[in-house]
């Protein structure tokens, strides 16, 4: 498969931006801020994975964090040292308390387990369209959460799963995010990605030109799950301690907000949305604690971050329903401005229907 030069150009521009964020944090930031940037990279990978499915299929996806949770717990169970499991996970089924895989096997293993689940869920999912499909993804998230919460022998239930080897670094996360941008762009602009986007706009017209929508949707679903499983593994191997509530509504809505604010129909939108929402979130978090600004003491405002997310979505939808970026990719901005001028002239030719 050949990659179009426009795709490489656009991916390079976004990749450079992400690399700049990652490496300036590595070089100049304190550990606390590096941690924030790492979480940003994980969130970015989640948003990219979400874009692969939502942006190309036009189906709102509430279940993506479920895949992340499965991958995080899978890598935790496979890679946590036996010494810790003896006390923390003594009653694990399938003899898992006596198993400790090196990351070289645990990471692919966790990703494979997630993809197997995604495969079977996907077989059912791609048959649905519109609201039923969205509800099904939401149900999937709840099912994963309930299993993580109640399969106490395997996951320690609501108590934290601790002792996961801390092996992920900010540079790894940055590199994966950059590669993720390229993969998401290549999929979106591949022949199959274009067919998928066509079918999400008009299923009947796409069928008439031979598009097999369900297969393409399935491909997008699996690729999306791959992104999410990588995000889950990275997250678990960075924080070292996870619990089911790490993978539930809060993260679901945060990442959905990032994608929708940026513009779900483009990878550029996913990246811009992740950056803008993350920046805003840090600012509100700062203000929330009632800091002194130039000798002026602000009151503490708990819940401001949640309010911020809600407000940003409401205003974003009200004034820019296609997101900040809209449906176009970064390298198309210049071209579309040209076209905008032309199409103003062109529209006057159109007769009244």
């Amino acid at each position: 498969m050949t990659v179009k030069s426009s795709v490489l150009l656009g991916s390079a521009a976004l990749g450079l931006l992400i690399a700049l964020i990652g490496f300036s944090a590595l070089l100049f930031a304190e550990p606390y801020h590096q941690r924030i940037v790492f979480i940003f990279m994980v969130n970015l990978i989640i948003v990219l994975g979400l874009q692969v499915f939502m942006g190309n299929c036009d189906i709102t996806h509430f279940g993506h964090i479920g895949f992340m949770g499965i991958a995080a717990y899978a890598v935790a169970v496979l890679a946590t040292p036996i010494a810790i499991k003896k006390t923390a996970l003594a009653t694990a089924p399938f003899g898992l308390s006596g198993i400790e895989l090196p990351l070289f096997f645990a990471v692919p293993g966790a990703i494979a387990i997630t993809l197997i689940v995604a495969f079977f869920v996907g077989l059912v999912m791609v048959r649905q369209t519109g609201v039923p499909a969205t509800i099904a993804t939401l149900a999937f998230l709840v099912v994963v959460h309930v299993v993580l919460l109640n399969w106490v022998d395997l996951t320690r239930g609501p108590r934290a799963f601790y002792g996961i080897p801390i092996k992920a670094s900010l540079s790894t996360a940055t590199a994966i995010a950059v590669v993720g941008v390229l993969i998401a762009r290549m999929f979106r602009d591949s022949r199959w990605g274009v067919q998928l986007r066509a079918s999400s706009e008009d299923a009947a017209a796409a069928a008439a030109v031979g598009v097999r929508m369900q297969r393409l949707r399935f491909a997008a679903w699996m690729l999306s799950a791959l992104f999410l499983s990588v995000a889950g593994v990275l997250f678990a191997l960075f924080v070292g301690t996870i619990s089911p509530k790490s993978f539930y509504f809060e993260l679901t809505f945060l990442t959905l907000a990032m994608l929708i604010i940026g513009g779900m129909h483009s990878v550029t939108g996913a990246v811009v949305g992740a950056i803008v929402v993350a920046l805003g979130l840090e600012v509100t978090r700062f203000v929330e604690n009632g800091p002194d600004i130039a000798g002026f003491e602000l009151p503490q405002m708990f819940g401001l971050t949640g309010f911020y997310l809600g407000a940003v979505i409401v205003f974003g939808m009200a004034f820019r329903s296609e997101g900040i970026v809209g449906p176009q990719e970064i390298e198309e901005w210049w071209g579309s401005r040209q076209q905008g001028k032309q199409s103003d002239a062109g529209s006057s030719e159109a007769p009244n229907p």
Partner: protein, 265 residues
């Protein structure tokens, strides 16, 4: 729909001669209301066949039945020996059908070129040999769309949108092209340009064309042979001359002033 390939077209014996689109005794009803009754027609390789009839005669239902967008109650549609009726639209496209829609259905967010590529991708998968021979740039140029190649399809002028739908269908390397009211909303100049372009591409691709319209003059100019559909039945067929002089046709159709059916909308 299933994920698996639609592969339920049955072979109807060895092919005899060129490519054929045969509609035989198709009946279709919607909750008891009979919309198509025993409709039979055929279109051969390279032929331009017209189907006219007043509004509500069942023209669009017929084209939807032929392209397997909706199932038929009885009868069948056979293309090059493969039964297409009651399969899937994808199977219809694979068997050699390309179509346009009465209400333009482009992929508006995609560019003009991408709209054509969507169809071409299917063709490359289903019939790589024929598809590889199609030059998309030439095709766009033939329909005066080269200048718009990088435009969003939704921002095109109306006449260009209609032409783009035809180009998209042609990118499937179809054996038969089904045009559903292709000249609707076009002015006289655009219509005659369209007629030339359809004739040319029929020759270039060697494909048969089935044109559906209620504009009698347009159909008479474009087609070699014409079927007249009224209230779900074929009431006449033949060359433009024969159809024009058919008393039944004159009664239901041409009897109106100005050679046009009355339009109530």
């Amino acid at each position: 729909m299933r994920i698996a390939e639609p592969s339920n077209g049955e072979s109807l014996g060895p092919r005899s001669g060129g490519k054929k689109l045969i509609v035989s005794r198709v009946c279709k009803s919607f909750s008891g209301l009979e919309v198509l009754r025993d409709v039979s027609l055929r279109c051969d390789e390279g032929e331009i066949v017209g189907l006219i009839g007043p509004n509500g005669a069942g023209k669009s239902t017929l084209i939807n039945a032929i392209t397997a967008l909706m199932p038929v109650n009885s009868g069948e549609v056979v293309i090059n020996g493969l039964r297409v009726s009651n399969t899937t639209p994808q199977f219809g496209a694979m068997s050699g059908l390309g179509r346009t829609f009465q209400n333009i259905r482009l992929f508006k967010r995609l560019t003009v070129r991408q709209n054509v590529e969507v169809a071409h991708t299917s063709a490359l998968r289903d019939k790589p040999g024929e598809a590889a021979a199609i030059d998309l740039d030439d095709l766009l140029a033939q329909f005066d769309l080269s200048a718009f190649a990088d435009w969003r399809a939704g921002s095109l002028p109306y006449g260009s949108q209609r032409r783009l739908e035809i180009v998209r269908a042609l990118a499937l390397a179809p054996d038969f092209l089904l045009l559903d009211e292709p000249a609707a909303g076009m002015n006289a100049g655009e219509t005659s340009a369209l007629i030339d372009a359809v004739r040319q591409s029929s020759k270039a691709f060697g494909c048969g064309v089935l044109v559906i319209d209620h504009d009698l003059r347009f159909i008479m100019t474009l087609c070699n042979r014409i079927y007249v559909l009224d209230a779900g039945q074929i009431i006449a067929s033949g060359t433009p001359e024969e159809v024009r002089n058919d008393p039944q046709v004159i009664e239901v159709y041409i009897g109106h002033p100005k050679n046009q059916p009355t339009q109530d909308h």
